[in-house]
Symmetry: C2
Subunit: 170 residues, 2 copies
Amino acid sequence: MRDVAEAAGISRQAVYDHFGSRAELMVATARYGDEVRGLDERLGRYRAATGGAERLETFVEFWGNYIPEIYGIARALMAARETDEAVAAAWDDRMAVVHEACSNIVDRLHRDGTLAPEWSLEEAADLLWTMLSIRNWESLTLERGWPPSRYVARMQELTKRAFVRGSEGA
Amino acid sequence: MRDVAEAAGISRQAVYDHFGSRAELMVATARYGDEVRGLDERLGRYRAATGGAERLETFVEFWGNYIPEIYGIARALMAARETDEAVAAAWDDRMAVVHEACSNIVDRLHRDGTLAPEWSLEEAADLLWTMLSIRNWESLTLERGWPPSRYVARMQELTKRAFVRGSEGA
DNA sequence: GTGTCAATTGACACAGTGTAAAGCTACTCT
DNA sequence: AGAGTAGCTTTACACTGTGTCAATTGACAC
């Protein structure tokens, strides 16, 4: 908090006056970030895709490009989530939006008749959501050294292979 | 540390005498846990499986049953990892063992000629390792409410579908 | 009887979060 | 012009948790 105040050129107490607590400051930062980055519009572009498989591909691309932008604050939120209820709630809200998107994609695949037959709609959505988690991005790019472009490409292949019927490539 | 000391019926300082720091205590706890649970022997059983696909299935089952046993300490380690280098190193060591196993499985699939053709050996190992992360288990069981048995069954299907050539079910 | 080992008690340093009180400056409203 | 207020400052303090230090005790071995 001291560092934040210094960086902002105000006193430590002024930060508390504005945000109440460390947790609230982080949540506010995350919300502001989404706003500045135009999250809604960017999601709108993916919503344009009509076919399930196409939507899956578009979404993975959008998400794979979005994660690096929010990773800093996301990391802080994930850590604070363990001990702070308000942060946990805020985080869960944000992740619920992603789950919603996954659910929507799976529904479309199902409607197209291209959902792989072993999954129920809920299970497929849960799995897709889990596969696209920020932790997994962290694991592949930061720990295994994948460049972001590879993350997107391979994740597209993987999710397609996993959820789209008869798309097992060669 | 105070709680640990109380539970052990000794003074707080005695804990520091034995383990030096909170981080070292956690690492020692994890090592001791593996020993008590007979990690090596249990891994030995999975090593008996010869075919790649069979080994994959056996390993996912072993791992899916092992995670709930170590989840408590694993969670503590994952949290402490963020701020403590020694914990980070210990954790990375443990995860390297899992990655090794994934690599081994992928190698066998490749040798059998049953590895799905879109993956390189390294990429497949990285992906499998990421899919089997404790975070993903946490996400599916604790957050999405899957029973552990379903985790194992669906993870077996998912990894098979993703990595084994021509095994896309119906 | 001496040495040593494993504890104990009690005090303290330090970092980080959060609270409280008093005061200062600049702006707005009437 | 004067009153009120918004936004900020400084200073001090409470509380938690980790880790350190020093002096002391009890038991056991040689």
